[in-house]
C-alpha cells in the first residue's frame, strides 16, 4: 500500500491543499499582502500630516534616505550595535556553554536561571534596566559614584546611551547563544575527544581542533539568527530605555522606520526604511554564509 506516494492522483493533492488553505489565506491577508503593499508604499510619496495623496515616485524615497544625515546616523547606529552586541553575546554565550559542559552540580537549575533573561518580555527587561540606569535614584549610579567616584549619565549622555542599550540587550540575548551552543556541544560524540586525548592533544588543541569544527554548523546558524535579529528586530529595548534619544544617539533602523512612518506619518519614507533594513539584513546573511563556506 503506497497510499502516501500517489501524489499524482488529484484527490490526494486536493486533501493536502485543503489542509494548507486556511493557514495560507490568513498568511495571504496578514503577511503576503502587507509585505507587497510595503514595497509599493516605499515607492510612493504618501504623507498624512499634512495630508497628501499617495503618488508613485519610483526610488526617490530610497535616494532621499541615503542622502539624509539622520538616516545615515541611524544606519551607522544599527551597524555599530550589531558589530558590538553580537560578538559580545557570542563570546559570553560560548563561555557559558563551555562552562555548563563541565561537571557542575545543580546544572538543570543553573541553566533554568541563566535562561531567564531571554524568556521574560524584552519590555520588562528593558524597564528593569532603565530603572537600574536611573541617574537620580538608580542602583548603578549609586555604586559607581560610591566606589569609583564617577557618575556617567547612562541614558542622557549621547556617547554612553548606546552602550547602555547594548548592555541590556546582551543581558537579554546571551542566554539564547548559551542554550544553542550548549545543545551543540552535547551533540559532539565523546569518541572524538577520546581520540584527541590518545593523540596527546592539549585542552586548547582539543577546543581548537575538535570542539570548534564540530560546532561549526550550529555556530553559523546562531550567528545568522542573531545578526539578523540585531539589525532588524531591535525595537522594544531601544523604545523603552532611550526612545532613540538623546538626539538620535540610539535610534536604530527598526525604531526609526516606525517613527518616520507612524509618528511623523511619512508612510512612504517609513516603508522605504523598513525595506532597506530588510535588504541590509539579507546582505549580511549572505555574507556570513559565503564566509563560512570559504573556509
Amino acid at each position: 500500500m503506497r497510499i502516501f506516494y500517489g501524489w499524482h492522483l488529484k484527490k490526494e493533492a486536493m486533501f493536502g491543499i485543503l489542509l494548507v488553505m486556511p493557514a495560507f489565506i490568513i498568511l495571504a491577508i496578514v503577511y503576503l499582502f502587507p509585505l507587497v503593499y510595503d514595497i509599493d508604499l516605499s515607492l510612493s510619496r504618501w504623507n498624512l500630516a499634512p495630508p497628501s495623496p499617495k503618488e508613485f515616485i519610483g526610488l526617490k524615497n530610497y535616494v532621499d534616505q541615503f542622502s539624509d544625515e539622520t538616516f545615515q546616523k541611524v544606519l551607522y547606529n544599527s551597524l555599530f550595535f550589531t558589530g558590538v552586541s553580537v560578538p559580545c553575546e557570542f563570546f559570553l554565550g560560548l563561555a557559558l556553554a563551555l562552562l555548563l559542559n563541565k561537571n557542575i552540580r545543580g546544572k538543570s537549575v543553573i541553566i533554568t536561571i541563566l535562561a531567564l533573561p531571554m524568556m521574560i518580555a524584552p519590555v520588562i527587561a528593558a524597564l528593569t534596566w532603565r530603572w537600574i540606569y536611573d541617574s537620580n535614584f538608580g542602583i548603578l549610579d549609586f555604586f559607581l559614584n560610591q566606589f569609583f567616584g564617577i557618575r556617567p549619565l547612562w541614558l542622557s549622555d549621547p556617547n554612553i546611551a548606546m552602550y547602555s542599550v547594548i548592555i541590556a540587550d546582551v543581558w537579554i540575548t546571551a542566554p539564547f547563544m548559551m542554550l544553542i551552543l550548549y545543545a551543540g556541544l552535547q551533540m559532539i560524540p565523546t569518541e572524538r575527544y577520546e581520540a584527541a586525548k590518545v593523540d596527546g592533544a592539549s585542552s586548547w588543541q582539543m577546543f581548537r581542533y575538535v570542539t570548534l569544527p564540530s560546532l561549526k554548523g550550529v555556530l553559523i546558524v546562531a550567528l545568522m539568527v542573531r545578526t539578523n535579529d540585531a539589525l532588524t528586530k531591535l525595537f522594544d529595548v531601544v523604545y523603552v530605555i532611550t526612545e532613540g534619544g538623546p538626539a538620535y544617539a540610539t535610534e536604530v533602523l527598526p525604531t526609526y522606520a516606525y517613527k518616520v512612518g507612524l509618528k511623523f506619518f511619512r508612510l512612504g519614507a517609513g516603508a522605504a526604511i523598513s525595506i532597506i533594513t530588510l535588504l541590509i539584513a539579507a546582505m549580511m546573511i549572505v555574507a556570513i554564509l559565503r564566509a563560512s563556506r570559504g573556509r
Partner: protein, 275 residues
C-alpha cells in the same frame, strides 16, 4: 600538587558560575525588591539594597493608577487567541505539507522558512493601514491577526519537522482500517502531541511578550496589553512610578517564572530540530 590544581580549577569554575548567576539574578532581584518597598524608600539615597520593610502598597496602587486587571485580561485573551488560531491552522497546514505534495507546496514551504528571517518592522505600516480599513484598530482580534505574522509561520515550520519524524505507517494502518484521511490525520496529531506542547509554550512566550504590534494597534484599555500599559507609565509627569512599574512587571512575569524550566528545555530542542 595535582590535587591543589584541581581544587583551584574547581573553585574558578564555581566562581564563574556564581558571577553568571549573579549577573542574571541581580536585575530580577532589583525589580522584585523595588516592588515590595514602601514608595518613599524606593527613592531614597543611598538606595536600600536589602529588603528591610515589606509592603504591598505598590501592588495596591498598580490596580488604582492603571486598569491593570483589564490589561492582564487583554494580554491573556490575545495570547490565547493567537495560540488557538496558530495551533489549529498551523498544525493542520504543517501536516498537509509533511504528508502531501502538490503544485506550490514547495514554494509555500520555502516561504515559511524565509518568512522567519524577515523583519516585522516591514509589516508595521501596512498592518496599521489594513486594520484601520477593516476597523480592527484597538481590538483583540486586530492584535491576534498581527501576531499571526510570526506565530503561524513558526508553528508550521516547527510542527512540520515534528510530523516528518513520525512514521507514516500509523496513518497507513488507520487508512487500511477504513478511517477517513481526516481521522488518519488525528492519529498523527496524537503522536505529535509533545511537538504541539513545544509549539504552544514557545508561541505563548512570543505572543505574551510582544510589544511592537500592540503599540501600533491598541489605543485604549479596551485592548492594551500589559507591556504597553507599563511602558505608558514612563510618560507620567514628575516622577516615574517605579514601584508601580516593577510591581506590574513582576505579576506579568510570574507565569514565565513558573514555566521557566520547560521553556528553557524546548527552546534548544526546537532550534536543533528545525535546523
Amino acid at each position: 600538587m595535582i590535587r591543589t590544581k584541581k581544587f583551584i580549577n574547581e573553585t574558578l569554575l564555581y566562581l564563574a558560575v556564581g558571577v553568571a548567576l549573579f549577573s542574571v539574578l541581580f536585575p530580577l532581584y532589583w525589580m522584585f525588591s523595588t516592588s515590595i518597598k514602601p514608595p518613599l524608600k524606593i527613592f531614597s539615597i543611598p538606595p536600600r539594597l536589602l529588603i528591610e520593610e515589606f509592603t504591598l502598597e505598590n501592588y495596591q496602587r498598580l490596580f488604582e493608577v492603571m486598569p491593570f486587571l483589564q490589561n492582564f485580561l487583554n494580554s491573556a485573551i490575545i495570547t490565547s487567541g493567537a495560540l488557538a488560531l496558530g495551533l489549529s491552522l498551523g498544525s493542520m497546514a504543517a501536516y498537509g505539507l509533511s504528508r502531501y505534495q502538490f503544485s506550490g507546496s514547495r514554494y509555500f514551504l520555502s516561504f515559511i522558512v524565509i518568512s522567519r528571517m524577515i523583519t516585522y518592522v516591514a509589516f508595521v505600516i501596512p498592518i496599521f493601514l489594513l486594520e484601520t480599513n477593516l476597523n480592527l484598530i484597538d481590538t483583540h482580534l486586530g492584535v491576534i491577526l498581527a501576531h499571526s505574522i510570526f506565530v503561524l509561520p513558526f508553528i508550521i515550520w516547527l510542527m512540520k519537522s515534528f510530523f516528518d519524524e513520525i512514521p507514516k505507517a500509523y496513518e497507513e494502518a488507520a487508512l487500511v482500517d477504513g478511517c477517513s484521511r481526516f481521522r488518519a490525520m488525528f492519529v498523527a496529531m496524537r503522536l505529535a502531541l509533545p511537538g504541539l506542547g513545544t509549539a504552544a509554550i514557545l508561541t505563548f512566550l512570543d505572543s505574551w511578550n510582544e510589544f511592537m504590534f500592540a503599540l501600533v494597534i491598541t489605543r485604549t484599555s479596551a485592548s492594551q496589553t500589559v507591556p504597553y500599559a507599563l511602558v505608558l507609565q514612563l510618560t507620567r509627569p514628575y516622577q516615574v512610578p517605579w514601584g508601580v512599574i516593577t510591581a506590574g512587571s513582576f505579576l506579568f512575569t510570574l507565569p514565565i517564572f513558573a514555566l521557566g524550566y520547560f521553556i528553557q528545555k524546548y527552546v534548544a530542542k526546537s532550534f536543533v530540530l528545525g535546523r
